[in-house]
Symmetry: C2
Amino acid sequence: MRISALSTRSGVSVATLKYYLREGLLHPGHATAVNQADYDESHVRRVALVRALLVAGQLRVADVQDVIAAVEAQDVSLHEAFGVAQDALVPERDRSDPAHIEAGHAVDRLVKRHHLDVRPDAASKLLLADALALLTEFGFAAVVEDAATLVEYLVEPALDQARFEVAQVPQDATRGERLAYTVIGTVAFEIAAAAVRRLALEHASAERFGADRS
Amino acid sequence: MRISALSTRSGVSVATLKYYLREGLLHPGHATAVNQADYDESHVRRVALVRALLVAGQLRVADVQDVIAAVEAQDVSLHEAFGVAQDALVPERDRSDPAHIEAGHAVDRLVKRHHLDVRPDAASKLLLADALALLTEFGFAAVVEDAATLVEYLVEPALDQARFEVAQVPQDATRGERLAYTVIGTVAFEIAAAAVRRLALEHASAERFGADRS
């Protein structure tokens, strides 16, 4: 299909598609003439993945490029590529303060306690340390180690759910498609979980404070 | 204390504090002389709240201003102010496409099924619709209603947890402090839940795909 048809199919403007091509987020079409190329279903799927990461996942272009590179790399396993994609989902920031370093140690101990098979430098650990540092700073826990205990109850349900989600990954799909599926699953279920949490908090706030005008 | 002492106490540079003052994120100090003001513990707490929302919550300045306005408004109840703060946490985006509108209806039905006491226009509902639209688009569910069923299992555990978290809000604190506490709790536990989810997914991926080099 021509780029105009890809635009109609994917709901993304031609100008945006050309931007994706320039940034390497979308692989080039098959050249049919000067300034003309042919696109196929792999392009439709790729555009959907890029949009999901940019819009729903709120990733920066550079991080989407990392995920796409992992999708395209043929020499890394699906599991390794998933790690690269996961790391791209964690925002960079200064984490050199003592509270953060201490929280990092607490995360290491939590990972060990639960025998989690994750890379020592997995960026998700930094994200968990962010949360522990925040809970400690705002008095939810006296010390970082207590904050780690406070989130401990999250681990086993998360493992059950993760095993369920990973088992859903289609067996017959290509490696790139399976990675896209796991990344979208990570993003979409995370948004769903956050939204449901917030609705539940509003409900609980109505129960507790709804009648209180103070 | 002087602004330099507030800077030391809060770990935020004087330039950034002045920026917070200009943007109305930080309430003015008590003027002691021309170009000199006195700050107190309320300023230390406020700076911590603003930093948490900007850095950990990744909110835009305009959204932090909305949260701060809710913290300062004395004529709205704690529950209503919490609603304002929750809405500020949801990013704006175009949600006019049919998939989104259909997902919105599915969210309404889910809210009704679970008798959730939330405002009809709560922004968290838009966030849940984002996730349902994404799950449908990427083939996790055939139709939006199935996607809603797919996330159904999240509701009851979220309610238990929300009731627990809301019960932790200090009784003796001021309204502003209690609101700050609930908002930080929302943000911090959400980050923790997302991070634990991702660690669990990496663990499950290692179990399932770790040995697979394809």
